[in-house]
Structures are given as structure tokens and as C-alpha cells.
């Protein structure tokens, strides 16, 4: 886990936005909504993994005592 996770989230965001724009231009609003929702869920999974990692680290540090 390093700085690249921030870049990854930003890249996912830009990619999702581009896909959404293309889908919207070709009159597929419903699929565009689903795609943006999917992007949100992917990023949320990443972030939740990070949160659990952080809490696990804290638990480990304080369990020694």
C-alpha cells in the first residue's frame, strides 16, 4: 500500500467519467448511471480495505501491551 492508491482512485474516476460522457452522448443514460455506480463501488472497496488495514495496524501496535 503506497501513494499509488491515490493515483489509482483518480484514474478510476477519470476513466468512469469518460465512459459516462461517451454513454451519455450516445443516449444510454441508464447504463451511464450504472457505470458511475460501479466506479463508486470499486473505489469504496479500495477505501474500506484501507480503513480496515489502518485499524488492524493500530490493533497490532497496542496489542503488544
Amino acid at each position: 500500500m503506497n501513494v499509488d492508491i491515490i493515483f489509482r482512485i483518480a484514474a478510476i474516476g477519470i476513466l468512469i467519467t469518460v465512459i459516462c460522457q461517451i454513454l451519455k452522448k450516445s443516449d444510454r443514460e441508464d447504463i451511464a448511471t450504472l457505470v458511475s455506480l460501479a466506479g463508486l463501488v470499486i473505489v469504496l472497496t479500495l477505501v474500506i480495505g484501507m480503513i480496515s488495514d489502518l485499524f488492524e495496524t493500530i490493533k497490532e501496535i497496542f496489542n503488544f501491551y
Binding site: M1, N2, V3, I5, I6, F7, I9, A10, I12, G13, I14, I16, T17, S36, G39, L40, V43, L44, L46, V47, M50, I51, D53, L54, F55, T57, I58, I61, F62, F64, Y65
Partner: protein, 127 residues
């Protein structure tokens, strides 16, 4: 040096967040949270050194090791609460974070009861 790493993460995160605001506003929140977690994970390992040193000082001063354990536990609880409250505030919900702070205060108060008892015992032996 670690400080350059932390500064770099902060600056890159800010630039990306400001850029994402105009591109895809719903992901800025998650970007903010993940940058915050990244910074916390980078700093959290430094707590280990401090706690080891703290235990050494306590045993050198002859303080009961149970009390030291309680104090370290209280520090852990307060750090956890601080981290979680920061996360919740990053999501922009102030009312929940206030309640988490309140719950943490009450928990710490209950955890501190043995220390207060010990203090009262010491005072009563002095009198």
C-alpha cells in the same frame, strides 16, 4: 526522510482532489478519505517506539504495570477515536462525529476508574 513522503502525499492528494472536483465530484470524498488514511498509516508506526519507551519509563519509576497498561489502553482508545472522528468529518457528517467523541469520552472515563481509585488510596494512606 519520512516528512518529505508525507508532504508529497498531501500535496499530490490536494492537487488530485481539486482536479477531481470538476471532473467527478462524487469520488472527491473517497479520495479525501483515502489520502487521510494513507497519511495516518504512514505515521502510525511511530507510535510503537513511543509506547515501548513509555513502558520502560513506567517500570523504571516503579509504577504498577497494571496502571501503565490502563494508560496505554486509554491512549489507544483516544487515538482510535481521533482517527475515526477525522474520517467521519472527512465524510462531512458532524453530528455523528460529535456522538463518537462523546462515547469515547465516557469510555475513557470508565477505563480510568482504577487509576482514580489508586490515587484515592494513595491520598488516604498519606492522611
Amino acid at each position: 526522510m519520512e516528512i518529505y513522503k508525507i508532504l508529497g502525499v498531501g500535496l499530490i492528494a490536494v492537487i488530485l482532489i481539486v482536479y477531481m472536483k470538476s471532473v467527478n465530484s462524487e469520488l472527491t470524498l473517497l479520495l479525501t478519505v483515502s489520502a487521510g488514511i494513507l497519511l495516518l498509516i504512514m505515521t502510525v508506526s511511530y507510535i510503537t517506539d513511543f509506547i515501548g519507551w513509555f513502558g520502560e519509563i513506567g517500570s523504571a519509576a516503579g509504577v504498577d504495570s497494571d496502571l501503565i497498561k490502563i494508560i496505554i489502553k486509554i491512549i489507544a482508545v483516544s487515538y482510535l477515536i481521533e482517527f475515526s472522528v477525522n474520517l467521519i468529518e472527512d465524510f462531512g457528517i458532524k453530528s455523528i462525529s460529535d456522538k463518537v467523541v462523546l462515547a469515547g469520552k465516557i469510555l475513557i472515563l470508565t477505563m480510568a476508574i482504577p487509576i482514580i481509585k489508586n490515587l484515592l488510596e494513595i491520598v488516604s494512606t498519606l492522611l
